[in-house]
Amino acid sequence: MIVTHELRKSFPAQRKLFRPAGPATDAVDGLSLSIPPGAVTGLLGLNGAGKTTTIKVLATLLRPTSGSVTVDGLDVVDHAREIRRRINLIAGGERMVYARLTGRENLWYFGQLYDVPRAVLGTRIDELLELVGLTDAAGTLVERYSRGMRQRLSIARGLINAPAYLLLDEPTLGLDAPIARDLRAVVANLARDGVGVLLTSHYLAEVEQLCGHVYVVDHGRLVAEGSPTALTAGTRLPHTVELTLAEHAPAVSAAVAALGAEFEVGVDTEERPTFLLRSPEDLAGELATAVVRAGGAIVRLEVNPPTLEDAILAMAGTPTSVAAR
């Protein structure tokens, strides 16, 4: 298991000639989290929340300023080399591969650096190329790859050492929808096979689909954790119900008002009356019943529960901790 305890990472200000250095920047401030094997754990937050810094500390690319990080009980500073054998990092974008090598050569290059046993390296390269759909382009120079192909190769690179823990920093950024869907399936399968995955993503539907547990950070601090469902429910954000009537019915407004929820009245593009109701609970059933009893003819009823994205946005602006377990 990867465990961070009170992890803090600050970056020193750049020194300037004849001017005093500014204050250090705290990117991660007292973060404690656990990433178990065999599960996908989410790390969410707005830009600048400290997600990528956290991932780079776990990957040994950055050193904690204070606090501790252990991977299967090994300290990330004292046993960096051993930890590098057990982890890998895949970042979104098309970097981290060599343009003048072919896809297969890139994987062979990194396989050599990871000292992957020769007996399995060839087979693993074939399997990974197949996994990311690059078998046919294996012998093509990467400089001739499309952006999506480079990113798929970068994903294969991240799996070349068969890591016990995989750190995914926006892995589907810029990928076509079918490829992103395939990657999600790969990640789910890896977790089923026992790999511990930490995922950051701006595609929150992806996080809801994959992650059993999510940490939400803002300005380097943990503001909430829990399952996506619990996080969404914990924010007490309103459900919205949109209702359109066939024609104006005078008694309907009073019936809606009687439900006690906040609502707005308007008209749609065809001049039909509309109601937008906001409530902590889903009042669609009560609303429909009340409208029909008041003589209204419903032509459209749409219920929008709060999403994880709404919850993250709400939490990012909330300085106090929200326990959502």
Partner: protein
């Protein structure tokens, strides 16, 4: 050791693909040094015709040997400058994100920079090396105490060059700007190391600076072993100095890599470009 050899194999492939991206590179590997040699020869020629020049520098009276002297200089310079170029390319790995990918792996950092430099060296300089040796044999300017001195000359060129390349690569752990390598180490290296002129023609303070660069002593050994028929005994002092200088450069490389990686882990500079 086995893991380090695998790093060498990986870097060998990478450097091969980088350097031989186009077939035209074979011409530039040979034509560029030959053109540089020709330029140098015809630049030095008027100096050799100056009154009294032959008394101070007897070589000027023998154009064939003068050309061999300059060719040895160009050969050694090609070896060392290919490592400056390699370090410059190493700095580009920051931009492509591959430097971070390399540092994610458990591979020895020392093996990485040594492999990077030696692969670039072998692939950049083999053609001109073969050409230079063939030309020296064909023109009868090769003068060896015994055949083993060829190996001594090769080692005196390769070992310090690889140590030099590893040292330059380790410097780039701290700096994102590699342009300074070209500024400091292109023309000044020609001059200071005695590539174009014999060392005795240079002022004492320049000779002192030149000693810091392994190219200077490598060149003395190369010319002594290949052109002047000197043996190991004659060159023992220079060979010892080269061995010490190479060891110092490798020690400094190991230290800089350790401090540099720690600095990058503290400041996040590995991802900056």
């Amino acid at each position: 050791m086995r893991a380090a050899l695998r790093v060498f194999a990986a870097e060998g492939l990478k450097q091969h693909r980088r350097i031989f991206g186009s077939k035209l590179v074979v011409f530039s590997m040979l034509l560029w040094p030959v053109l540089t040699l020709a330029t140098t020869y015809y630049t030095v020629l008027p100096v050799t015709e100056a009154p009294g020049a032959a008394e101070r520098w007897p070589l000027v009276a023998q154009p064939g040997r003068l050309l061999a002297f300059l060719a040895a200089g160009a050969l050694a310079y090609t070896f060392f400058f290919s490592l400056v170029q390699s370090a410059w390319h190493f700095s580009w790995e920051r931009i492509s994100g591959t430097l971070e990918a390399m540092f994610l792996t458990p591979a020895s950092r020392m093996a990485l920079v040594l492999a990077n430099g030696s692969s670039a060296l072998v692939q950049n300089a083999w053609l001109f090396g073969c050409f230079g040796l063939a030309a020296a044999v064909a023109t009868g300017t090769l003068h060896l105490a015994h055949p083993g001195m060829l190996a001594v000359a090769a080692l005196a060129l390769l070992v310090p060059a690889v140590a030099w390349g590893a040292f330059l690569n380790s410097l780039l752990m701290f700096s994102r700007d590699s342009a300074f390598l070209y500024t400091l180490l292109d023309d000044p290296l020609w001059f200071i190391a005695g590539v174009r002129l014999p060392l005795f023609a240079l002022p004492v303070w320049i000779k002192a600076i030149g000693l810091v660069f392994p190219l200077t002593t490598s060149l003395v050994v190369l010319r002594g072993a290949l052109l002047d028929g000197k043996d190991v005994g004659d060159l023992a002092g220079h060979l010892t100095f080269l061995a010490v200088l190479s060891a110092v450069l490798l020690g400094a490389t190991a230290l800089l890599l350790r401090v540099g990686e720690r600095h990058a882990q503290r400041t996040g500079s590995l991802q900056l470009f």
